[in-house]
C-alpha cells in the first residue's frame, strides 16, 4: 500500500493537444479517490499514466515515495480493472485470477491456490472457478476482473469505468461491493467514472476534471455544498443545479420570479447593475403551501406557472419555464455542451414534497432557500459565494474519517 503523488502531470499528443494539463494531485495511503468528468476530460488518460500504459510528457508521478515515470507497468506494482474487463478468454476463472501470481517468481503452488481461493470466496466466485469467461454473466466477469486485481498485494487498485457495461440494478450492487472490498482491504484506490452517483457514493474525495484541467478536489459533500465554479456545480447533483440570470440592483438581486438581498460576501466583489448567474439546487425549492412558517421566513416566496410535473412516489419534480437573459443563455448552452447534456431549454427544475398536489399548467406558490444559493461570475464561472471556512471544515472531517478508517484497517 502506498500513496500516489502527481506533480504537474502533462500529457501532450503529437499534434500539441494536451489531454491532461498540469495536474497535481495527492492521493493519501488508503484513500478512495474518484476521477470524474465528462467524456474527453482526460480522466482515463490520467489513470493510464498512473498505471504506466501511457507515457508522461512532463511532471512527476510518485508512488509510495518512488518516482515511477520511467518504470514499466509491471514494475509499478499496481492492479487495474479495465472497462471491458480484459479477461483472458483461453484461461479458466481460476487461472485468470492466478495469472498475476504465476508471473511472480518463487511463489509455491499451494500458496497460489490459497490466495486465489481467498480472493474468489471474497467475491463469491467459488463455484465458477473452472469455467471460462465466455460462459459467465456480465456481473461475474466483472467480479473475476476484480479478483485478478485483489489477488496480489499491490500499492493501489485502479478502476477504469468498471461498471459502465452493467445494467442499472447490477451496477448498484457492484458499487456497494467495490466500496466494501476497498474498506476491508484498505488499499489506495483510484476510480475513473463519468457517473456522478458512483463518484458521490464511493469516493473519499472526488477530483473533477474538465478539458484536462483539474477543477476541484474535495469530498463529495464539499463538491455539492461548496463548488468552486459553475462547471463543478452543474456537474455534481441530479437533477442538476438551476442556473438563473441575476442582476445586481443596489443591495438587492433580481432573478426571474424572485428578488432577494445581495449576500454580504458578494457585495464588495460586484458593481451595481452587474449580471451574475445564480445557482439554486432543485431540492432547495419547496411548495410554499406545505411549508411550516418558521422555515418560510428564511427564504423567498414567489409565484410561477408550472409546465410539467413528474411524480416519482418518494419525490416530485416540477418544471417551470422562464425567459433567460441571452448572455447567460449562451454561457449555459456552452456549459451544457461540455457536460455532455442536451442544450437545456431555460427552465427551472424544482423538487417539491411528494404530498403536494400541484397541477400542471396552473400557477403555484413556491419557496426558495436563498441562503443556499450560489452566485457565479458568468464569464469565468467562478463561485463568488464559496465559503472557504465551511469548505475547510468539511475537508477536515473527511481527513478524520479516513484516518479513523485506516486505523481500524490496521
Amino acid at each position: 500500500m502506498a500513496g500516489i503523488e502527481m506533480r504537474n502531470i502533462v500529457k501532450e499528443y503529437g499534434d500539441g493537444f494536451k489531454a491532461v494539463n498540469d495536474i497535481s494531485l495527492d492521493i493519501a495511503d488508503g484513500e478512495f479517490m474518484i476521477l470524474v468528468g465528462p467524456s474527453g476530460c482526460g480522466k482515463s488518460t490520467l489513470l493510464r499514466m498512473i498505471v504506466g500504459l501511457e507515457d508522461i510528457t512532463s511532471g512527476d508521478m510518485v508512488i509510495g515515495g518512488d518516482r515511477v515515470n520511467e518504470k514499466a507497468p509491471r514494475d509499478r506494482n499496481l492492479s487495474m480493472v479495465f472497462q471491458n474487463y480484459a479477461l483472458y478468454p483461453h484461461l479458466t476463472v481460476f487461472e485468470n485470477i492466478a495469472f498475476p501470481l504465476r508471473l511472480q517468481k518463487g511463489l509455491k503452488e499451494d500458496e497460489i491456490q490459497k490466495r486465489v481461493r481467498d480472493a474468489a470466496s471474497m467475491l463469491e466466485l467459488n463455484e465458477h472457478l473452472d469455467r471460462k469467461p465466455a460462459n459467465l454473466s456480465g456481473g461475474q466477469r466483472q467480479r473475476v476482473a476484480m479478483g485478478r486485481a485483489i489477488v496480489r498485494q499491490v500499492n493501489a487498485f485502479l478502476f477504469d469505468e468498471p461498471l459502465s457495461n452493467l445494467d442499472a440494478k447490477l451496477r448498484g450492487q457492484m458499487r456497494t461491493e467495490i466500496s466494501r472490498m476497498q474498506r476491508r482491504l484498505g488499499t489506495t484506490t483510484v476510480y475513473v467514472t463519468h457517473d456522478q452517483t458512483e463518484a458521490m457514493t464511493l469516493g473519499d474525495r472526488v477530483a473533477v476534471l474538465r478539458r484536462g484541467l483539474l477543477q476541484q478536489v474535495a469530498s463529495p459533500r464539499e463538491l455539492y455544498e461548496q463548488p468552486v465554479n459553475m462547471f463543478v456545480a452543474g456537474f455534481i447533483g441530479s437533477p442538476p443545479m438551476n442556473f438563473l440570470p441575476a442582476v445586481v440592483s443596489g443591495q438587492r438581486l433580481k432573478l426571474p420570479f424572485l428578488e432577494t438581498d445581495l449576500p454580504a460576501v458578494v457585495a464588495e466583489k460586484v458593481t451595481d447593475g452587474q449580471l451574475l448567474v445564480a445557482g439554486i439546487r432543485p431540492e432547495h425549492f419547496e411548495d410554499a403551501r406545505v411549508l411550516d412558517a418558521a422555515k418560510r421566513e428564511k427564504g423567498v416566496v414567489f409565484r410561477a406557472q408550472v409546465d410539467v410535473t413528474e411524480w416519482l412516489g418518494d419525490s416530485q419534480y416540477a418544471y417551470i419555464p422562464f425567459e433567460s437573459n441571452p448572455e447567460v443563455a449562451e454561457q449555459l448552452a456552452e456549459l451544457a455542451a461540455e457536460l455532455d447534456s442536451e442544450a437545456l431549454r431555460s427552465q427551472l427544475i424544482i423538487s417539491i414534497d411528494a404530498m403536494s398536489r400541484l397541477r400542471e399548467n396552473h400557477e403555484g406558490e413556491f419557496w426558495a432557500d436563498t441562503r443556499r444559493m450560489h452566485l457565479f461570475e458568468p464569464r469565468s464561472g467562478e463561485n463568488l459565494t464559496r465559503d472557504e471556512a465551511a469548505a475547510a471544515d468539511l475537508a477536515r472531517l473527511e481527513q478524520e474519517e479516513l484516518a479513523e478508517r485506516m486505523e481500524q484497517a490496521r
Binding site: 471491458n84 474487463y85 483472458y88 508471473l103
Partner: protein, 276 residues
C-alpha cells in the same frame, strides 16, 4: 412455405452436384490405385479385383520413398520457420506504428501473386552457381519466400482482432512484453497460427514447379515432381495405377491435417474476452 421448400430442395441438389463434381475425380484416383495390372482398361469405375499391388510397388521403389521423405521433411521445416517468423512479423505489423508499414504489407501481398515460374529460371542459374542446386535448403528458401507473406497476412488479421487491453492487462499483472506475447497473445491467436501453418504446409506440399526445376536427383526431389519420373512395374507398361496409388498416399496427410485442426481453425477463441 411451398416456395421455401423448393428453395431448400434446390440448395440440396446444388450442393450434391458441387460435391460430386469435386469428389468424383478423387474417387476415380482411389479406384484406379486399386486396379492391378491391365485392370485399368476394364472400362468400369470400380476395379474387378481390389488389389494392394500398386501400393506395394510404390513403397518398394526408392524413387517414391525418398521423395516422400524429402517432401515431409521440407514441408515441416518450411512450415515451422514460416509460422514462427510470420507470428513475430504479424505481431509487429498489427501492434506497432512504424514508417513503411503499409509498404511491407503491400509488398507481401504482391509477392503472393507473383508467378512462380518467373523466378524459377533465375533461381535455377543462381542456385547452380552458389551450390544450392538440388539441396533441401535450395527448395526451402523459395518455399519460404512464397509462404511467409501469406502467413503474415493471415496472422496479422488475427492479431488485429485481439483487443489491446489483453496485453495491457497482462503488463499490469506483471508480465514482460515477451510473457504477454507468449502467454496471452499466442494462445489467443492459436486458430490463426494453425490456419497459417496448414496453408503453408499445403502450399509447400503441393509445389511442383520448384520441385522439378531446382532438383536433379533424389537428394531433394519432392513427391509431386517425383511422380513425373515414375515408371511402371515393367518398362513397357504405363505407370498410371502406381501414380494413382502415390497420389492417394500424398493426399492422406492433407486430409488428416484438415480433419485434425478443422475445429481449431474455425473456433473463435476470443469470444468472451471482452463484453460481448
Amino acid at each position: 412455405m411451398k416456395a421455401s421448400r423448393q428453395v431448400q430442395i434446390a440448395w440440396v441438389v446444388g450442393a450434391i452436384l458441387v460435391i460430386l463434381y469435386a469428389i468424383i475425380p478423387v474417387f476415380w484416383i482411389v479406384s484406379l490405385s486399386f486396379k492391378e495390372g491391365d485392370d485399368i482398361t476394364n472400362k468400369s469405375f470400380l476395379p474387378t479385383v481390389w488389389s494392394w499391388a500398386n501400393y506395394r510397388t510404390v513403397f518398394a521403389s526408392d524413387l517414391f520413398t525418398t521423395a516422400l521423405r524429402n517432401s515431409v521433411g521440407m514441408a515441416l521445416i518450411a512450415t515451422t520457420i514460416s509460422v514462427i517468423l510470420a507470428t513475430l512479423a504479424a505481431y509487429a505489423i498489427s501492434r506497432l506504428e512504424f514508417p513503411g508499414k503499409r509498404l511491407v504489407l503491400g509488398v507481401a501481398l504482391a509477392i503472393t501473386v507473383f508467378p512462380v515460374i518467373a523466378i524459377a529460371t533465375p533461381l535455377f542459374n543462381l542456385w547452380r552457381n552458389i551450390g544450392l542446386y538440388d539441396t533441401w535448403l535450395g527448395l526451402i528458401i523459395p518455399y519460404l519466400s512464397y509462404s511467409l507473406p501469406l502467413a503474415v497476412y493471415v496472422l496479422a488479421a488475427f492479431f488485429r482482432e485481439i483487443p489491446w487491453e489483453m496485453e495491457q492487462a497482462a503488463q499490469v499483472d506483471g508480465a514482460t512484453a515477451w510473457q504477454a506475447f507468449r502467454r496471452v497473445i499466442v494462445p489467443l491467436a492459436a486458430p490463426g497460427v494453425f490456419t497459417a501453418a496448414i496453408l503453408t504446409f499445403f502450399a509447400v506440399w503441393n509445389d511442383f514447379v520448384f520441385g522439378i526445376t531446382l532438383t536433379s536427383s533424389e537428394a531433394a526431389r519432392p513427391v509431386p515432381a517425383a511422380l513425373a519420373f515414375f515408371q511402371g512395374a515393367s518398362q513397357f507398361s504405363q505407370p498410371t495405377a502406381p501414380i494413382a496409388a502415390a497420389a492417394v498416399v500424398v493426399t492422406i496427410p492433407v486430409v488428416i491435417l484438415v480433419l485434425l485442426f478443422q475445429r481449431k481453425i474455425v473456433a473463435g477463441l476470443t469470444s468472451g474476452a471482452v463484453k460481448g
